[in-house]
Symmetry: C2
Subunit: 299 residues, 2 copies
């Protein structure tokens, strides 16, 4: 059915006018081979995050069409909201899900960025795995200055767009396109109300303070439950595995006499993150994804 599957999570700078949002998401609903999984308008941020999945070509085509509608309907000169933003279609990550390498997702993101620039006279930047230089990997670096500041920033040689003109689109600003691994939001609850323990464990596991390469983490108090949580963003579950983080949190907690009392995944996760976990605990060392019945249905 699907040879390759890509996920795309475009963010559009409209979170209040539901009529405009409906227009923007329409291509994801009507395009054969693409499937709209979710869209979450946020009034405070004045922004909508759309999750779509499907065949790479279909998803790309729907995205390009949705971009045109966003550019036509969103005027960034009038946009206000709590979230940093630089364009009508602000940022577009492509995420390889099935039978697709990161290189292929990068190639797709470049094609889409180039096409967007050509069709809509829109400056586009490549970020994350598609970035042309380390300075452009981080979205926050690129977006700094936001729509209002970009009028000038875009003229600096350092911030010449990867595609399109060296001046912002007058009403749609500029767009950042790229490729990244799926994120898994994974939280682990501890049977203590001591936030210092959750903070200490977070430091042990997160990349920035010496932990796993693809882990971001921080301690959070769950005041209603009277416990604390290690709140984790797994930025590449295929290299920093869920079970490995879980076991590490478990043995770090043990030194304080603290136990894990539960965990949660917020939102969606690729099947493989959980299959890898089952493989580890059951010592299923030869198991292949295509032994999963439902996986075969997606072929």
């Amino acid at each position: 059915m699907f040879d390759k599957i890509v996920e795309c999570v475009p963010n559009f700078s409209e979170g209040r006018d539901l009529e405009v949002i409906q227009k923007i998401i329409a291509p994801f609903i009507k395009t054969e081979g693409a499937k709209l999984l979710d869209y979450m308008p946020d009034k405070d941020h004045n922004r909508v995050v759309v999750t779509v999945i499907g065949e790479p070509k279909a998803v790309a085509q729907a995205l390009i069409e949705a971009a045109g509608i966003a550019i036509e309907n969103i005027d960034m000169t009038k946009h206000k909201g709590g979230h940093p933003r630089m364009g009508a279609m602000d940022v577009v990550p492509f995420i390889p899900i099935k039978n697709m390498t990161m290189d292929e997702a990068v190639a797709l993101s470049k094609e889409v960025a180039e096409e967007l620039s050509k069709l809509y006279d829109l400056p586009t930047y490549l970020y994350e795995k598609a970035a042309a230089s380390p300075a452009r990997e981080n979205l926050a670096n690129i977006r700094k200055g936001e729509f209002e500041g970009f009028k000038e920033k875009i003229k600096e040689p350092l911030w010449k767009p990867d595609f399109g003109p060296s001046e912002i689109h007058p009403t749609a600003g500029a767009t950042v396109v790229g490729a990244r691994m799926p994120l898994v939001a994974f939280n682990i609850n501890l049977n203590t109300n001591n936030i210092e323990i959750a903070n200490h464990i977070s430091k042990c596991i997160r990349h920035i303070s010496g932990g796993f390469r693809f882990v971001k983490a921080m301690g959070v108090e769950l005041t209603e439950k009277g416990i604390v949580q290690v709140s984790i963003n797994m930025t590449d579950y295929s290299k920093s595995a869920l079970y490995r983080i879980f076991e590490t949190v478990k043995f770090e907690a043990a030194r304080y006499g603290v136990q894990i009392v539960g965990s949660e995944i917020i939102g969606l996760t690729p099947m493989e993150a959980l299959v890898d976990t089952a493989k580890y605990y059951l010592k299923l060392n030869e198991f292949k994804m295509d032994q999963v019945l439902e996986y075969r249905l997606l072929e």
Copy 2:
């Protein structure tokens, strides 16, 4: 894409004539909404096991068409093979995979059996979860006597078919149709060559000797590897969970100072069997299947 998903594993009494086999499987390939996952002709058994999956209506329609082709092309009066059999299309289990209750799978199997009898003047029996009485739950009970013996057996009041005439189809015999849970073939390897330990553990976990309700198990020697295996058939992973069997084998082995060194799943498994395992070990107590990205694609 698929609201409900059913799996169907029909067994046809032809394992040698590949031309006939191609004709029989053609409906599973061409029917929209059905997907042929596998077919395994066995020359010694003179039998082919077909695995197909998809929308219940599409799968049922393809199955009925394939049955007609099998009846037309297989002459049981000339059939020889090492496997017990009573009909050209010998047995047809329907297995609920997604958004489908066992009751719905039972209803589907009854509809199909009735339709087969009507269309092809074929006696059909219902077995497993679709059985009208406990005596008909077990396939081996129904099939006893095989094609040759069925000429007489079918006339006994006790063996009156559930649908169709009380005499066998002259060349196609009779067919058994029913519904069951997916089977998971799960083997656990131990770091000992003592088969008695594998046999003892098998007895601890299997239903027949006091173990888990939906577990069949036996000890097997892996002579090349110089170890033994607990070879398990999980007949309902949703009630006798994989992780529970694994942990039980682990603690039973421990009394002999023996450890689990690996495990394997042979063939296909529903995603849920592995997601349940990951949920247990990660204490992911609130996790829902529709948080799995690929699962959403099947909607």
